[in-house]
Symmetry: D3
Subunit: 248 residues, 6 copies
């Protein structure tokens, strides 16, 4: 497996979103960032969790998992392992929070939005790619329900995207692949809205603490990458055809 060309430190890997890869969900997208590929599906179903206060309207939740063939060594399933994978639980909560930050849940009373992100292939940045794909699948699903008159108005309040930034050999690098991620001194995941505000910043000094300067530079770079991703998302969201896979 060869990587065709080396990207620059402040560039994104090739990004794309392929809609309609599954027939049954309300929205479905294959999100691609470099060699990382995520199957994102969205169902909007009747019913809300019991604990949700009545005045909340609806709910949105996310799950994240990795297919066994997504990693260089076979990824062992949670169900086989017999215990919850803390990393997955962490990521699913991050994605859920991010999606809810751009949703006005009062506009989907009595409904739950189920967002599933399953990693088909993992080459770094699966959590940010998941957020990017989930947003597209969400918007496609909303569009479908609006056209079917099952929703009165769009509950999505802003666009949303995420990118990773790391420090490698003292340099700030955006959208790390797996090899880069594993030798990064510090690792950040940044989620922002289309209006340039922060939804989530998670920054960890994996190998060494990082300085304020490094941090500010990373945030700056992330902002630029996120703008580019949002542009890509918009293109796909507004495609007129439903994008459903044809029978072969």
């Amino acid at each position: 497996m060869k990587k065709c060309e080396t990207k620059k430190d402040d560039q994104l890997r090739p990004v794309s979103f392929q809609t309609g890869i599954q027939e049954y969900p309300d929205g479905s997208v294959l999100a691609v960032m470099g060699m990382t590929r995520i199957i994102c599906s969205v169902f909007i179903q009747e019913g809300v969790p019991k604990w949700l206060p009545d005045e909340s309207g609806g709910w949105a939740t996310c799950e994240y998992d990795m297919l066994p063939g997504s990693t260089t060594q076979r990824n062992i399933r949670d169900s086989s392992r017999g215990r919850v994978n803390a990393r997955s639980a962490d990521i699913k909560r991050l994605i859920g929070r991010a999606m809810r930050s751009v949703l006005d849940l009062k506009k989907i009373p009595g409904k739950t939005i189920w967002i599933d992100c399953d990693v088909l292939q993992a080459d770094g940045g699966t959590r940010t790619a998941s957020i990017n794909g989930a947003y597209v699948a969400l918007k496609r699903a909303i569009k479908k329900l609006l056209s079917e008159k099952k929703l009165k108005s769009d509950p999505v309040t802003d666009s949303l995207a995420a990118v990773s930034v790391g420090i490698i050999d003292g340099k700030i690098v955006m959208d790390l692949d797996y090899e880069q991620d594993s030798r990064a001194e510090a690792d950040m995941n940044i989620v922002m809205t289309g209006s340039g505000r922060f939804v989530e910043v998670q920054a960890t000094g994996e190998k060494r603490p990082f300085t304020k300067d490094e941090f500010l530079q990373a945030i700056e770079m992330a902002g630029k990458g996120i703008s580019q991703i949002i542009k890509k998302q918009e293109e796909v969201i507004h495609e007129s055809s439903p994008g459903h896979v044809k029978q072969k």
Copy 2:
């Protein structure tokens, strides 16, 4: 979602196998039967289960799961449900037995073949489509290891395929889709080798017991379908290119 054309009762739905949909497994295939689509991946790894007797050589095992977006109503994950899904456990054991029936495990001493079947889209016959795809992914993986001199000889002793047959309104019908399956009076899954022998027959009178005549007719029809599937498999197995997905 429309189904393009109605197939005849004794015909298969359109069958295809797309190799190389994942980069990391030794073999990887998207198996398609009608609208049913299965991600099959095979890793051949060092190490065998502790309980395996020394004289056994190696081992082969299978896991099966369904993606949340694979079904018309979102499929709840095993890990969320907090308990083992008996249906999945059943199917993974069927696939494992089928694959081992055409493997000479003495030829892979100290190695385990991990076969994973994950349903991307379910429209009936996921267990038979899984077997069909798993066989192709297995052969591709073996081919890779033989070319890398990691195996001395091919442990696969025969070709292998499976098909479902059901009784609907008293008529024998092959390769049922979900809608047919749910109203079938009886339901059979038949696994055969390229040499025309039976590896597994599972026949259940879901809605009524079935007669010997009906049973014999079903077995006859299955034999024909399996021959056609095996022909399709052979074409893909012998493709020269590795079929890896390109960077976009």
Copy 3:
């Protein structure tokens, strides 16, 4: 432990059913096939599972387990092992399906039939002996409820029995004991009704695939064995005394 006499290949081992081995269940039977002995108990209780559609009437379900002293090496309990035993789950589903195939559940509205099969001693064929005993316990329980006017009519639509058939050294052999079962080339479990129709056929080529000819011969032999078992069952079901164990 010696086995008194060798049975012929197309014969059943000695079969018997001892009723009333427990006081509290509505029906209770010790089913004996050779040295295999199963405690079968049936309770018919008010209430149905939540997921059951209203129009279904009632429900019937089965559980299967093995006592620690039932096997030559002590059988480890599921609860000690800390995980579900896939083999038991498989068998309990088979028995449940078989029993429901001869039950008109509309005739037991709002009730659940609980069928428990616990292996006291395992010497091959525990799943078929369980079905045979469960059927007797079921009929005894129904008879009791009919006589107590708790049921209006008999929901059982046909008689039911099961037998195993295997291929050993190329010969078809019926009702295998453990030693035979472990060296059988192929192994089949066949469930039929009193009217000669098939409820379930499970055939696996454990050591080699089997031919159509072998399969047809096996089915033929199973039909004869099942007729003999059904005759034995009928005798016990119609015994006038409740068969309860006396105080000692």
Copy 4:
């Protein structure tokens, strides 16, 4: 179900031990106290738990469970319930401690004695009946291993039996059945050796605290009952025939 005759308060219910009810365990006994019946089996196997200090010699452990048909309302299995039954865990520890109190584990180096008590029918006093039956099965198993020269000397240091005593309407009553047990004001389980010493006393004021006088009277009565049980046990232990169930 009728109880034939009323026993006096200071009497035991009818007690018996039927050996050889299972073929495979080293010792197996059906222990009967009134309508309570327990299947007790003992395996003596090579191997000891990892945590056992080297100087300890061997180990003995017990498990206890109830069959679904053992109770008036169907008893739900631990494995179905999905969680450990605290009552069973409690009882298995009591039986284990009691058995180890009369075992010199240094005489079974490297071996584990597995004692299983499974309730076939529960009518009060299942934990004391289990101890009584387990002791008989243990002695039968030891006798077998001694005769096979697999043990050099008998590790059992004393005889052992147990009985329950309760306070009902202010009167001390021995060996309560289920109906008595459920209305007892206080409930005691007493385990003693043949030499008249106490191995375990568990006394609980279920409905009211009890006085010292009541307590002393109960202990006195238990001593008498235990002597009678030990006499019964001795008869069965020294039966010459192995008592194995014959083929029917």
Copy 5:
């Protein structure tokens, strides 16, 4: 760590109860017996378990656990171990039964009393110290609810305390510390009411069976110790100040 002075065999270790160590529970106490220290908290909440019969009034239940730093070797948490700790389950049931024995549950209709005992430091006798502390926390909580008019009358029917007694080198010793407990020949836990009646007696011949004489002596000694503990409890229960920890 030195133990200041050696106590006599028939003496208690220093006993004390410090109230108000937590702000939120209705009652909270740090119970100290020698170097053993237990955090006891009581919440009285609306709601009762589903299985509780309507006529029962309310319910009281207890949980017991040990902090990782409470033992000389770090105590592994149940949640990390992935399975239930049988010893803790045993103890929580003992404490629950003891507390309910002095509660008239009809006086707390529709309410559940949650009693939690968490071992801060374990030096023997944690179960008896837990009972002693739980009683104080319970009375403080009841007092608070009475003063807030949330209860009409005090449901506590008697005072309650517990102490351990053991046999060491043939001598009867009260209130064992860990070192003594681990070499005791026999070990007893005795729970009594203020009126001198027994609520629970648990006596085990850990290393050898014990005689009736030894047992009677132990019971005598326990009675004296329990009277002293009850005196200490009463002092603290009637302290006027709520004893809440001040801000630092």
Copy 6:
């Protein structure tokens, strides 16, 4: 429960560390921030996880839990709930990463540092208070092992502290209590070293995305608070007395 005085937005709540609250751990501290109180204990034990590469030296890991009495409504235990608490898993990973960031694990070859944080009382900021207390307990434990010559040199490379910052009504507020936390628009946890570098930044726009300006202000304020906490920690770490609790 009254809060004595209102603190200013850019101030910490009263901070203190009480050492020696448990006898057995190598280091033990009660960390107090306002009304939040955490029991922190550290054991340094022989042995490392199996998966740790040989060249890594030693390991450090953390666990976090909340006592049932720590919250206004009783906190249900993980072990009772029967499933892992995702929030706790999240926090324990954060604390573990933070501690390892100031540890040179090569200096503790073959050893594991076990850090336990148990919340005695929760009033906001339990994860940051845990980090602050864990650091003190760690340093105390290291000091003890150095003085006992069990360690050759101090593996701690820098001092470490953490603080929360939130946005309430558009204002930046440090060290939030529970009431403030629950109405904060955005919530940040910041971990820094004594040398002023970042170990971890976790910032979430709970109720609305936040601006870059708000973010920078929050980071600035956190830096000041962390300096103050580190000063407090240093005082306690260098106390000469071991600080063990005396017998009462």
